[in-house]
Amino acid sequence: MRFNDDKDFSACGIFGIMDRAGRRFSGKLIVEAMSLMKVRGNGLGAGFAVYGLYKKFKDYYALHVMLDNKDVKEKVYNYISQNFDIVYEDEIPVNDKANVVDPPKFVRYFVAPRKRGTEKSLSDDDYVIKKVMYVNRHIDGAYIISSGKNMGVFKGVGFPEDIADFFMIEEYRGYIWTAHTRFPTNTPGWWGGAHPFSILDWTVVHNGEISSYGTNKRYLEMFGYYSTLKTDTEVMAYIFDLLMRRQGLPIEVVAKILAPPMWEEIERMPEKERNFYKALRMVYSPLLVNGPWAVIVARHGEMFGLTDRIRLRPLTAAEKGSLFMISSEEAPIRYLFPKVDKVYTPYGGEPIVARLER
C-alpha cells in the first residue's frame, strides 16, 4: 500500500539531545532514538543538526551547499569566493552505498566574510544572511542549507537511518544534536525541504503545519529573510534569528509572541502584565504562528522546545544528569536511558529550555 491518496496520517517525529556540560558525543545516540519513532515518518525526509563538530575551523562560517544541479558548482564557487575568504573547502563525505535515491551533491566551504563598501556597516552575521539569501534566491539549483560556525546540518530524502548512513552521522561528534523524520502532507518531499531548517547557527526541527506561513513569510521579507525551500518550517528559523539575535529578546518572551495567551486570559492578568502582553500581541501580530506545531530549536549554548498554545502536537522533555532531551514521544528517551531524573510535558506555549552550564 502506498500513501498516494488525499488521506494522510500527519505526524513527523522530532528529537533533541544536549549535554549541558558541553561534552561532545557521537550521533549514534540520536540515530537510535529516531529509529524508535520510525512510524512518525514515511521516508520522504530526515535530517540532523550537530553543534561542536568543526573544532578546527570553529571561527569560520561553515557553509553547507546543496547542489541540485551539477553544473551550478562553479557559479556557487565564484559567488562565494568573491564575497568570502575561503580557508578550506571539500565535498561533504557521503556513503554511496546508502539507501537513498538520486542524492544531490553537497559541498562545504569554511569562510570569513570579505565585506566591501557599504557592506562594511553590516555585522558579520547580517552579511552572511544577505549572501545566503542571494544564493538561495538567485543561483538556480544551489541552496545553502547551513551557515553557522562550528555546527552543521545534514539532511535529505529518506528515513533517519538512511540519511544517517548516507552522511555517516555516527562519525560526527557534538554537544547538541537535533533530528527530524518527515511525513510531508502538503509540501514536496525533496532534499531541500527536509528538516532541520537553518540560518547562521539556528536550527529548527518541526512537527505540524504553520497555517500562518503566508503572513509570517511576508513580514520576514521586510527584514531581508526570503523563503525559498518550499516548506513552512523555514520561517521559524528566520523568526528566531530576527527576534532573538537581532532584537535580543529572550525565549521566554519570544514564546509569547509565537504562541501568545488568548485575549480572555490576557484580560484576567494584573494591569502591568496585561499591558505587556497586549503590546506584544499588537506589535508582533504578524509573527503569531498559527496551526498545530511543536518545534525543537537550537543555537550554540542552548536548545529549547516549544509547542503551539493549545498543544496540538506532542512534546516531552527529560533530564538525566547533564543530559537534556526533548522528544515527540517518551519511548525513545526511555530506550536510551531507562532511568531518567525527570520527565515532563509542559503546557502549550511554555518553552522547555536547556542551556550550557558555564
Binding site: 500500500m1 502506498r2 500513501f3 498516494n4 524508535l36 519513532m37 520510525k38 512510524v39 512518525r40 515518518g41 514515511n42 521516508g43 520522504l44 535515491v101 530524502v157 529518506g158 528515513f159 514536496p188 518531499g189 486570559e265 484576567r268 493549545i310 498543544r311 506532542p314 516531552t316 514521544e329 517518551e330 519511548a331 525513545p332 526511555r334 530506550y335 520527565v343 510535558t345 503546557y347 502549550g348
Partner: protein, 275 residues
C-alpha cells in the same frame, strides 16, 4: 512528486509469525514476549497468535513505543490480561474488546482510543487524548494526563465509560464529551491548572476533587451538585483506584468534589438548523 521513495513504515521490516518464535516463551496459559526488537505489527501479530493458541495472560517485556497494543483481539468473547513493562506506544488499547491491560510505566498519547470494553490501568502518567471517543470500559491512570483527555467520550444506555485520573489533567479536559464519567482526584496537586474544561461538552459528567475556578470552564459547561447516585458511583470507582494504586479511599472521599455538567445537550444546534 515521485512516489518512488514512499514506504509504509508500519509494514516495513515486518517478519512472518513463524520467524518470531524466539521472542515468545509460553508456560501453560501465560505467554511472555520480549518486545525489544519487534515492530508494532510483529508485537500485535504475536499477541493475537498466542491468544488464538490458548494463552489468557500475556506479559510484554521491553516495550518501547510499539503502538496499538491490545487491538485486533476481538475473538469470540475471549478475555485476556496483558501486562506491559516499559513504554507502550500511541493508541494503547484502541478498540479494546473486553480485555484488561496493566502498564508498569508511563503511557503515551491516545490511551483507550475508541475503546469498547475492558479495563486499562497505568502505573504512571499518560499523554494527550486519553480515552478519546471511548464508548465503554474503564481506564485508571495513577498520575497525570495531557491535553484533551476524554475528548468525545460517549455513553449509551448500559454503556458508560469511566476515566479516573489520580493527579491532574491539562487543558481541554472533556472536550466535546458526549457521555460517560471522568474523575480527577487531584492527589498531591495544589491547584488544577486545566483551562477550557468541557469545551463543546454536551453529555456525561466530570468530577474533580480540589479547587477549580469558574474561568477554567468552557462556556458550554457549569458547576453541578452531586446527588446520592454520584456519591455511590464515586465510592465504587475511587475504591477501585485505591485498590490498584494503594491509597486511602476514605481520605480522598472525605474531601469535596465538584461536578461539571453540560448546560445543553445540543450546544451547536442553532449553528446548523437556525433554531
Amino acid at each position: 512528486m515521485s512516489l518512488a521513495g514512499i514506504v509504509n513504515p508500519y509494514l516495513e521490516r515486518v517478519r512472518p509469525i513463524k520467524d518470531l518464535a524466539e521472542y515468545v516463551k509460553v508456560e501453560g496459559e501465560v505467554a511472555e514476549i520480549n518486545a525489544r526488537d519487534l515492530t508494532h505489527k510483529e508485537v500485535n501479530d504475536l499477541i493475537r497468535e498466542c491468544v488464538i493458541r490458548g494463552a489468557r495472560k500475556i506479559i510484554l517485556r521491553n516495550v518501547f513505543g510499539q503502538r496499538f497494543i491490545g487491538t485486533r483481539l476481538a475473538l469470540n468473547g475471549i478475555k485476556v490480561e496483558i501486562e506491559i513493562h516499559g513504554i507502550p506506544g500511541n493508541d494503547l488499547g484502541a478498540f479494546l474488546a473486553g480485555h484488561r491491560i496493566v502498564v508498569y510505566g508511563n503511557a503515551q498519547d491516545g490511551v483507550g482510543n475508541t475503546m469498547d470494553s475492558g479495563e486499562i490501568i497505568v502505573h504512571g502518567r499518560a499523554g494527550d487524548v486519553v480515552a478519546m471517543s471511548m464508548r465503554g470500559g474503564e481506564i485508571y491512570i495513577r498520575d497525570t494526563v495531557g491535553y484533551r483527555a476524554a475528548i468525545h467520550m460517549k455513553g449509551y444506555m448500559e454503556r458508560n465509560p469511566v476515566l479516573v485520573i489520580g493527579k491532574t489533567a491539562q487543558d481541554f479536559l472533556g472536550e466535546y464529551m458526549a457521555g460517560g464519567r471522568v474523575i480527577v482526584l487531584g492527589i498531591g496537586v495544589d491547584r488544577h491548572k486545566a483551562r477550557y474544561i468541557g469545551t463543546g461538552m454536551h453529555g456525561g459528567k466530570i468530577f474533580i476533587r480540589g479547587k477549580v475556578e469558574e474561568y477554567q470552564l468552557a462556556k458550554e459547561v457549569t458547576f453541578g451538585e452531586l446527588d446520592k447516585e454520584d456519591w455511590k458511583f464515586l465510592e465504587e470507582k475511587v475504591g477501585k483506584f485505591c485498590e490498584y494504586f494503594n491509597c486511602d479511599k476514605d481520605e480522598l472521599l472525605g474531601d469535596n468534589f465538584t461536578a461539571i455538567i453540560p448546560k445543553s445537550k445540543r450546544p451547536y444546534g442553532a449553528l446548523y438548523s437556525g433554531e
